[in-house]
């Protein structure tokens, strides 16, 4: 498979403080890659670096094109949909407006209307809530809205920052099932950041382990799952 996104020697900074050191990773087209790590390991920072929200050095290429140093909105327009930590819902706007915003960089109204239907197919609950203020949705519904909003971009790559955060286990199961379907049916590649390592390794086909801003392990999701150290530190058995 060809690499959709490659990162080489990527470092990132909050002001003067360096948070990522010399990261290197590849994401295969059509695959699901997960980034594991403890609190503060730099998972969210890695996603923010990819989206141009942090001062970043090094080389990041998307579809062969360098994107380091580009503006966040330009990176989004290339087809990278970032579902941020905390879901990034526009709470004062309606569900409809949230979805429309996801497609704001696209022009064809007919296609956009079709895509809203597509999102409803994956998340029927959003149809019921369509005209409701997004802030009144439950946590699970808001996460679905966030993913729906990302789909409206027709992304090649989705960056998902802890989609399971704060949700009931049953909802999480449902959500991850939908993510798997999206990956297969919509051919969306995914880069998944998760605290819940077991869940993430089930979904992903490739995994990286991050410790204090450095990649310390990389490999096939299955192999990583078998690894003694990982099992003890992150899977808890």
């Amino acid at each position: 498979m060809t690499a959709l996104l490659t990162a080489k020697g990527v470092s990132a900074f909050y002001g003067q403080t360096q948070v990522l050191y010399d990261l290197e990773f590849n994401m295969a087209e059509g695959g699901i890659t997960t980034l594991l790590g403890a609190n503060g390991a730099g998972k969210t920072s890695t996603l923010r670096a990819l989206s141009g929200m942090l001062r970043t050095h090094g080389e990041i290429r998307f579809n062969g094109q360098p994107i380091t140093g580009k503006a966040t909105e330009d990176i989004a327009r290339l087809g990278i949909a970032h579902v941020p930590e905390g879901r990034g819902t526009f709470v004062r706007l309606t569900v409809e407006e949230n979805l429309q915003l996801g497609a704001i960089s696209r022009g064809n109204r007919k296609e956009i209307a079709d895509d809203v239907e597509r999102v409803f197919n994956y998340f029927p609950q959003l149809r019921v809530r369509y005209y409701q203020q997004a802030g009144t949705l439950s946590g699970g519904e808001q996460q679905m809205l966030a993913i729906g909003r990302a789909l409206m971009l027709r992304p090649k790559l989705m960056l998902l920052d802890e989609p399971s955060f704060g949700l009931a286990p049953r909802i999480v199961q449902e959500l991850f099932g939908i993510l798997r379907t999206l990956n297969r049916q919509e051919k969306v590649s995914m880069f998944l950041v998760e605290q819940n390592a077991s869940l993430a390794l089930d979904l992903a086909d490739h995994a990286y382990l991050l410790e204090t801003g450095r990649v310390v392990m990389a490999g096939d999701a299955k192999e990583i799952r078998e690894d003694e150290g990982i099992r003890r530190s992150y899977l808890g058995y």
């Binding site: 909105e73 990034g88 526009f90 407006e97 704001i104 808001q142 909003r149």
Partner: protein
């Protein structure tokens, strides 16, 4: 009863002034999520530009629309040149800048056009429309302009993609960038539109209060009051709020003893405090509810 109706009508006439200004206040609030204290001075300066154009021989409506265009460009320029570089500065720095712009524009206007009051023409005439001196043609025209402006803004924010992008950029800039909204240009656009609405307000108000560098001082306060009463996120609320402030002020001045002309401004401020205490989001402002 007659007196009551008269005072309500007179209140609506002044209310139209406040509603105009409140619209401009809401406009900038939608874009940058806080007040712009220099809003009134920007409107005053725009009005001077219109006056100057007419002095140079432009017909009224040509000067009117040209002023709107110039003000829009100036609003965008202010955002690009002054606020853009300080984008990540704390709110207090912005407040200081607002005050600086306020003072600079005020003295600049005085420097160019001096502080003597000038009369400013009305395109609607001054003959009475209702009763004797209750509602003049200018008052009626001003009310119509406010309503047209309101309709345009409503359609813009509710039905256009640019309007939606602007609301998103103001509410949650980071999320807006992540879906591809060009947030910094939305801010500039918001400044431009607020300046343009302010220019309309200034040109409507000037025939009533006369043109001079300090004409907007108290009117901006009333505009703030109107916007707060109506809810800072709602153009319709701002207009209703503006009219209410005008009517309430007039009725209180007439019917409550001891509140003469001197105490009128206090009523506007008392209204702000009362509304913030009872219903912080204003009459029509959307309450921010969120679940986790």
């Amino acid at each position: 009863m007659d007196l009551f109706i008269h005072q309500v009508l007179a209140g609506l006439a002044t209310g139209a002034i406040y509603a105009c200004m409140a619209l401009a206040v809401v406009m900038i609030y939608q874009a940058i999520d806080h007040f712009n204290f220099a809003q009134g001075e920007m409107a005053m300066f725009s009005t001077f530009i219109a006056w100057q154009l007419m002095e140079w021989g432009f017909p009224y409506w040509a000067a009117f629309f040209l002023t709107i265009a110039i003000s829009f460009a100036a609003g965008v320029a202010i955002e690009r040149s002054i606020f853009r570089p300080l984008h990540n500065a704390p709110v207090m720095s912005h407040v200081v800048l607002f005050i600086a712009i306020f003072v600079i524009i005020n003295s600049f206007a005085g420097f160019i056009w001096d502080f003597n009051i000038k009369s400013f023409p009305t395109p609607f005439g001054t003959r009475p429309v209702l009763g004797q001196g209750l509602l003049s043609a200018h008052d009626a025209g001003m009310i119509a302009v406010v309503l047209i402006l309101l309709l345009l803004l409503f359609v813009f924010f509710r039905y256009t993609r640019v309007g939606l992008s602007m609301r998103a950029a103001a509410a949650n800039p980071e999320s807006a960038q992540l879906v591809g909204v060009r947030v910094s240009w939305m801010l500039a656009l918001g400044w431009g539109m607020a300046a343009a609405v302010g220019a309309v307000a200034g040109m409507m108000i000037a025939p009533v209060v006369f043109l001079e560098p300090n004409m907007m001082l108290s009117i901006l306060l009333y505009g703030f009051a109107g916007a707060v009463v109506g809810g800072l996120t709602s153009p319709l609320g701002a207009v209703i709020g503006g009219f209410s402030v005008g009517v309430i002020e007039n009725l209180a001045g007439t019917f409550i003893p001891y509140i003469g002309r001197e105490m009128k401004l206090s009523i506007a401020l008392a209204l702000i405090v009362a509304v913030l205490m009872v219903k912080p989001s204003g009459l029509l402002g959307r309450k921010i509810v969120s679940r986790v």
